[in-house]
Symmetry: C2
């Protein structure tokens, strides 16, 4: 009956990736990006996006500042990878855990499809880890979902 689900990332994580790329693209000499700007650019629900931003701040990927001219900036010590964003919002399951959800699944004690997916998992991890949210190659696309 084909439920609705089945997507690589949770919706929160999709927003998070877009948010991070937008902030990165908007960030020239320490410029802060506000929630309003973000939701306008993304077309995402404001309150929910705010929660996602909170998680990103708590996760150490963003710094936040309140008050007029407040907003968000990327952490400045090291680049934020897409991998980091996924980990903070969705955790390690997609990257690390058994696709059939078996706790005991591992190389020594594999589930039936374990071998089939090892390549994909590695490739996925590789891709997520090789791309920073501030990667200039990400700037060409658009994330506004509106018409």
């Amino acid at each position: 009956m084909a439920t609705k689900r089945d997507i690589m990332f949770s919706k929160a994580c999709q927003y998070a990736i877009k948010v991070m790329i937008f902030i990165a693209s908007n960030q020239k000499e320490g410029n802060r990006t506000g929630l309003k700007e973000i939701v306008a650019a993304l077309g995402s629900p404001e309150a929910f996006t705010a929660k996602v931003l909170q998680q990103l701040v708590r996760g150490g990927l963003l710094e936040s500042y309140r008050g007029p001219s407040g907003g968000f900036v990327l952490r400045d010590n090291k680049p934020v990878l897409i991998y980091d964003v996924v980990q903070v919002i969705d955790g390690r399951q997609l990257m690390e855990e058994c696709v059939l959800g078996l706790p005991e699944c591992s190389g020594e004690n594999p589930c039936p499809v374990h071998e089939k997916f090892t390549g994909i998992r590695a490739r996925l991890k590789e891709t997520l880890m090789s791309t920073a949210v501030s990667d200039p190659s990400l700037l060409k696309g658009s994330f506004k979902s509106g018409r």
Copy 2:
């Protein structure tokens, strides 16, 4: 805060894949596999597994028979691929749709990460389409999640 979610397939789909592999492995000269057997082998919730089986039957991947000695068998006209199972239970999103959830995303009008994921998507599709649930190589693993 790392929610719980983030997995490639829905839980229903995970059950479905296991179910199909189990039925395939249990199927010698048209032998039928019953719900009871299935949930015993998988350690999956009975009523929910029954619903998943219903979907697989409606989706044309299984045939079902009622009454004593009833049960389920794989369709016999053509092999069932993991790809088919995922499509029937979870739909086409994982395989076909934008990882950021953008309806307009496409090669001509890409989202920021479109390029980064094309390789993985292709690889995933390839893998799912190249493996039948009756593939003998799947028999070595176990799916019983119990201790």
